[in-house]
Symmetry: none
Subunit: 202 residues, 4 copies
DNA sequence: CATGAATGAGGGTTCATTCAT
DNA sequence: AATGAATGAACCCTCATTCAT
């Protein structure tokens, strides 16, 4: 999925939308006129490239999901060691949730939200796409873990995948509700996550 | 938080809203006239009890969060044994996610969605309230686990809580995306979750 | 037109309405609920005595027009001398325009406004009624003026009446836009009015 | 205040509103959809040029007050002689009150009515503007009257102005309530007005 | 008789979409 | 191709009126 599959105007719309979301606008109140302005194009132009506002938003989410997840997948696949992969992803999760301007964060909250528009079917595609990327990341991690003898190969594939997924989601929850855990630093939370993961997978 | 804190009309609005959500209407497109119709009251009556559509929706979410979570907390606290508690909650998660008509499911997806309206602050309250209930459930589980010697008391409170939370969220993910795991039955997924939990907590 | 032609509730509505107008509420935005509250009766009760909000307002205007104008007519008719009559009316005009709480002032501005509601026909009645009272006042004045030899009887009845009317309206204009005439005191304005009147009628 | 300060659409709204008023619609019940229809534009377009219905109405009143009063002022200032000025204005008053389609008549009744909307402050501006135009007309008349020796210069400025104003308002009253004076023709009423004026000013 | 809770028609305003330029 | 002025359907909310108590 290369960006040059999209025209300049489409990219402009995607970026304009991302910009608005970063500024705190929420996806549900967003107006076409705002998108057009943020994209520096005329309102009518959006309708030359998209059939509706909803489609434009959906395409933007899709674009960013691909862009951002591809970056992460590539990055993780480049890291040779299990532990480094895990910590890199914990860092990524932290950054993306903490940062107001993380397109991924917006995406992740948007994914479930897509249903707001009558794009439920399309929404499924977004989720599936995300799962696909997640699958690739999990595979890469399991690969390393097994090579390094950290993961007991007797565990079922589901067991292994769900274990890793759980740990990441658990950490994401921590970051999301950090203020509920004032006595737990981020580094401690990461170490806890890693320790738990090791225990499960052994 | 007893229901008789609310007037009949308020309850009617809450139920009407739940009804609509169960029917697949989504929270973002919902119209006041639909709510009124579903609640079997006049449109204007809503405004005798709530200041705005948004407030009505927020109050409904709050009401159901309290109602449903209270039920679950009470149920869990009545169960004496660790393992039974875990399996009961796994069942609850399964039921709530599977069932189109689960108000809790709607709630959980709505909670993060509440931000759509300009009730972000109120939305925080909803999340905090959920976290509070979740905390009570976790405490009850940990209590049993420690009594029964399943949970090593040397683990930090955060370690214990996050472990349990992770496992539940992980299972919720499974149920949500069941079709991605066609070779894994629900019972297997539950057993995996329990096994993982035991491993982490030991 | 004695007040005992009206029931207590009707009087309550009239007074409530007057109260609201004195408080600066304007006749066009006034709500039935406000009238009911000001009248210390239930909203529904108004409909036991009036067919509609508009009718209630119209009846109140009529009531006050009668009440206030009757007072003025009686007062003027009691005064024996031409000059005193004129000055008494100039005083009355001043008081009524100056005072925020003058029901007559409200009435006079309301009279032309009555057309707002679809009571144009009724509005005509209000104006006619006012003209009738005005006619009695003018007659009384002319009577005195002629007896005292201030008014030349050779003038036509229209000439005489219009002269007096003009002078009063002119003074009313002065009071209404007093801030445009900062160098003219009220007493001077009254004297000017009287002087002009004498000149015309002679 | 030239009309090209306004866009075509604004003028269309002004004219549409005037049209509606001429048709007997009253300012208080007027609907945005009616204005739009009368202006031959879409309802939404009004909101591209005005912030609210009230603002649109206020701007229309302002526009017509300026337009109509400017016309009258220019006309009067062109007339060289005192008597002709007076009779011209009496004619103008007659025409404007008689004609259902006089925008000025509508304006004058609207000016005091403006208070209905919450534009009381703006309403003041309208009245002040009217007074300003009226002041120019009075000055022009007095100027001629003094040159021609009709007005005794010993009279105070207020005396002179209020005299003229009174006469005009008095005549306006006659026209407004013509049916109360069935034995007085318009021409007689004008002559009476002029005679009275001469008497006062001498 | 008196009430005020309930109603729903109605209207101001917004904003996605169109289309003439 | 690109625009943004214009549109009008849609929807939230108000408030005059009703009617069960």
């Amino acid at each position: 999925m290369r960006s040059n599959e999209y025209s300049d105007k489409e990219i402009a719309v995607f970026n304009g939308l991302a910009e608005l979301l970063k500024q705190g606008k929420n996806l549900y109140n967003i107006k076409v006129s705002e998108i057009a302005k943020a994209a520096n194009i005329g309102k009518g132009t959006i309708y030359d490239y998209f059939d509706s506002k909803e489609e434009a938003i959906y395409m933007a989410l899709l674009y960013y999901l691909n862009t951002e997840m591809t970056k992460i997948v590539i990055e993780v696949e480049k890291i040779p060691f299990f532990k480094d992969k895990i910590y890199r992803l914990l860092d990524t999760i932290e950054e993306n949730i903490e940062s107001k301007s993380s397109t991924l964060k917006i995406l992740l909250s948007a994914v479930d939200i897509g249903s707001m528009y009558n794009l439920i079917e399309e929404n499924e595609k977004l989720i599936d796409l995300f799962m696909e990327y997640a699958g690739r990341i999990l595979s890469s991690i399991i690969n390393s873990g097994e090579k390094e003898g950290i993961i007991a190969e007797t565990n079922s594939p589901y067991y292994k995948k769900s274990a890793i997924r759980c740990i990441f989601i658990g950490f994401a929850q921590y970051v999301n509700h950090k203020d509920c855990y004032k006595d737990v630093s981020v580094d401690v939370a990461k170490d806890v996550a890693y320790t738990q993961l090791i225990k499960i997978l052994r």
